[in-house]
């Protein structure tokens, strides 16, 4: 797109074309002026159409289909048979569901602590002006660019009990397998949250620190009294993404542990996969999926409400 700038309504003519009447060549740029100014401002609603359609076809429609399937019995062949609330009753009675829910909560909590603490510190550091900061930040970002599957396969090889770098029975023990999943997830997603915190920390006005310095606040005091409170909304944003991400965490579990040992790392998305693509019980798998959608949406809403993020109260009130 090369819309001519308004000041340039008379293009500089090359010397060879001076014989031609100047009027003809100077007209067209003028014409484009009004149309350009009307394009400034809010884009037309139609611009959202591709995005909306994409979202509708690949998110909303499948979600509604899954919800419908959760009231049927379907093994992937023939037509789904309506079974009323059977799958939902099974969901409530299933012992594995209880364990799975507990594991999911535990995974979410452990991931939050692990990722938030490191990402927050790294992000605040990356927002500064140290030597080599940009280079190091770029290197730290690399894990997030790799595919989850590749990362999981990599760690699977590293943790091999006979040929890996740590030759212990990590993935075969309950706590070891769980911690490995938390660690690998953190290794992958900390860079992403670091980026969020870096952006957040960059926006904290310098004057706050200058005032604090005059008042005699040291680095730690500044961090806890200025940086942290100012990053409140950033923490919420990161937390919502992290919680929803943990609720849908899947490929790492599939590759590292397949839900094992026994059922000790079978979090909800894995249980859903197993019901759907191992047992071919798509009705029950859809019930778990619907439950996940409702839980994840509900949790993010609650988080947003509790933190006051929704009402968008400024972190800079009175400034």
């Amino acid at each position: 797109m090369s819309a001519p700038t308004p000041t340039e309504d008379r293009p500089t003519e090359p010397t060879a074309t001076t014989s031609t009447p100047p009027a003809t060549s100077s007209k067209p740029p003028k014409l484009s002026k009004p149309s350009r100014s009307s394009a400034v401002g809010r884009p037309h609603a139609a611009w959202a159409l591709p995005g909306v359609l994409f979202f509708a076809f690949f998110a909303v429609v499948p979600m509604l289909l899954a919800f419908y399937l959760s009231f049927t019995s379907w093994d992937g062949l023939g037509d789904p048979q309506p079974v009323g609330l059977d799958n939902w009753r099974k969901l409530i009675d299933d012992d594995r569901m209880v364990q799975s829910l507990w594991l999911t909560v535990l995974l979410t909590a452990a991931s939050w602590v692990f990722q938030t603490v490191i990402a927050l510190l790294l992000g605040v550091w990356a927002a500064g002006r140290q030597r080599n900061r940009a280079v190091l930040s770029a290197i730290f970002f690399v894990p997030f660019l790799l595919s989850s599957t590749a990362i999981a396969l990599l760690f699977y090889a590293l943790l091999d009990p006979n040929f890996g770098i740590i030759q212990e029975n990590i993935l075969g023990s309950s706590s070891g397998a769980f911690l490995a999943i938390v660690f690998v997830g953190g290794w992958q997603f900390i860079p992403f949250h670091t980026l969020i915190y870096q952006g957040g920390a960059r926006q904290i006005p310098e004057v706050l620190y200058q005032a604090a310095a005059i008042d005699g606040a040291g680095r730690y005091r500044q961090f806890f009294s200025i940086t942290l409170p100012q990053l409140r909304h950033t923490v919420t944003t990161s937390t919502v993404l992290l919680v929803v991400g943990s609720l849908t965490y899947f490929e790492t579990v599939l590759i590292l542990t397949k839900g094992g040992p026994g059922t000790d790392t079978a979090i909800l998305p894995y249980l859903m996969y197993e019901a759907g693509f191992k047992s071919y019980d798509f009705g029950y798998a859809s019930a778990i999926a619907s439950f996940l959608v409702v839980t994840a949406t509900g949790l993010s809403l609650i988080l947003v409400r509790l933190t006051g993020f929704g009402s968008m109260r400024s972190t800079r009130e009175g400034m």
Partner: protein, 476 residues
């Protein structure tokens, strides 16, 4: 058989673009020193993000378009055959080429297009395809429970009459193997790969070094275990990260303790048969082995699929390995000199007081082709299946190191890469009073999946033998 990697479709934390970010906030700490680095950087990132996402979408759509293209060749209809895409697929590729040039193909006015589905995804992909309009006409399967859902949905052609009326098919295969491809006495499958009995392999050099003989009874096996542990060698390699490797132990123990009738009853749909004392005894025996350290301390994170267990075995860290006959070709690929010189094999030992015959075999008799009842060209499909009984097909299997389940196989085995092993296997299967199909293939996926989970819990000590039995009785 399942494996480590699957198609992953779980979401990652999405977003990644600006969230509540006020445009170009003034006085950001970085702005005086580094000119505009913050905002410029983030803009580049987001543009790349969008472009990347767009490219990915295009790629995916493009690939899907290619995949669904149903290139039907000229001159008659093309039928699609799904097969399990591992190393042995070259035998099917050759068969398809041969068939497409043959007179049988011309008279049936059909050609075959082979689609090689990566092994780890095979079952799920087949299920999805069979429920869709782009279902294959002919497909690879394990017989028994693996085709039960398709048979119940009337998606299979009953091949019984075709086989009865065709001397090539009727006399072409070992009867017990042909029968295992069916359900309820009717035939739905034609054998198309080598036989895969489960065999007790042992490392000859380790056995020679410690003056051991392959066990024929459980007492001998325990004696060997004691000696090996004293020498700091793990008696058995076990890739416990893949639950089907653990399943093999229970399959043989239940057979040796209670005979093949115990599982036959379970396979027949009687879940209470899990309560047979033989199942509990087998589970207790497994627990004894584990507590005794027969599998070492790390087996639950060792995998078969990624080569862990075979390597432990080949390197002499473990002395024995209970595995399907494909262990030979696995070792031949990874540790050729071990496979040729030091790999020994024997039948699973008897258990004192048990009723099972030492000649009984568990495992996969073979794999089968079944025909989709919605096929547009049944004649071509059946003509293609007949090729599996041909000598050319059997020879290709033998050359690949497989043992065909055809009646003519015995005389071809001299040409095998390892005639001694080939003959051992062929005789083992031919003389077996009973060949029990792998439990996970004999039962439908709806039961096999939780069963495998319970087996894994037993092996990792998450449930006791009695808890194991009561959990299995609950499977309906």
């Amino acid at each position: 058989m399942e494996s480590i990697s699957g198609r992953s479709n779980g979401g990652r934390p999405t977003g990644g673009q600006s969230m509540g970010e006020s445009p170009d906030s003034p006085g950001s700490p970085g702005s005086p020193g580094s000119p505009g680095s913050g905002t410029f950087g983030s803009r580049t990132f987001s543009r790349r993000w969008v472009l990347g996402a767009g490219a990915t979408t295009l790629l995916t759509t493009g690939l899907t378009a290619c995949g669904s293209g149903d290139g039907s060749g000229g001159g008659g209809s093309t039928i699609t055959a799904f097969t399990y895409g591992d190393d042995a697929v070259k035998v099917q590729t050759a068969a398809v080429d041969r068939f497409n040039k043959s007179a049988a193909s011309k008279s049936a006015k059909g050609k075959v297009k082979l689609e090689k589905v990566p092994g780890t995804d095979y079952s799920a992909k087949l299920r999805t395809a069979m429920g869709s309009p782009s279902a294959p006409d002919v497909f690879f399967n394990w017989g028994g429970g693996s085709i039960k859902a398709y048979q119940e949905a009337n998606q299979l052609i009953d091949l019984t009459d075709t086989i009865e009326g065709d001397p090539v098919l009727k006399g072409g295969f070992l009867p017990s193997v042909l029968a295992a491809g069916g359900l309820g006495g009717r035939n739905y499958g034609i054998p198309m790969r080598g036989m895969q009995p489960v065999i007790l392999f042992y490392n000859k050099s380790v056995f020679a070094e410690h003056k051991l003989q392959p066990p024929t009874t459980w007492a001998e096996l325990q004696d060997i275990n004691t000696k090996l542990k004293a020498a700091k060698i793990t008696p058995f390699a076990l890739g416990g990260a893949d639950t089907w490797t653990e399943l093999m132990w229970l399959e043989y123990l239940v057979d040796r303790i209670g005979g093949p009738e115990v599982f036959a009853k379970i396979q027949g749909g009687d879940a209470s048969a899990w309560g047979d004392p033989a199942v509990l005894k087998a589970a207790e025996t497994v627990k004894e082995l584990i507590d005794d350290g027969a599998f070492g301390s790390k087996f639950s994170s060792v995998s078969y699929v990624n080569g862990g267990a075979p390597a432990v075995f080949a390197k002499g860290k473990a002395a024995m390995h209970l595995m399907g006959s494909w262990e030979y070709s696995t070792q031949l690929g990874k540790f050729p000199s071990f496979a040729k010189n030091n790999l020994g094999w024997c039948a699973f030992p008897t258990v004192e007081g048990g009723t099972g015959d030492i000649r009984n075999v568990v495992g996969n008799p073979t794999n089968y082709w079944s025909v989709n009842s919605r096929t547009q060209n049944k004649d071509a499909a059946i003509a293609f299946l007949k090729d599996c009984a041909s000598e050319a097909y059997a020879k290709a299997l033998v050359a690949n190191g497989d043992i065909p389940t055809t009646a003519n196989a015995a005389k071809l085995l001299e040409a095998s890469p390892n005639p001694e092993f080939a003959k051992f296997q062929y005789e083992m299967v031919e003389k077996a009073p009973a060949f029990t199909l792998s439990w996970d293939q004999a039962l439908g996926a709806d039961i096999a999946t939780p069963m495998l989970t319970e087996i894994n819990k037993l092996f990792v000590g998450k449930s006791s033998p009695s808890q194991f039995v009561s959990a299995l009785k609950e499977l309906k």
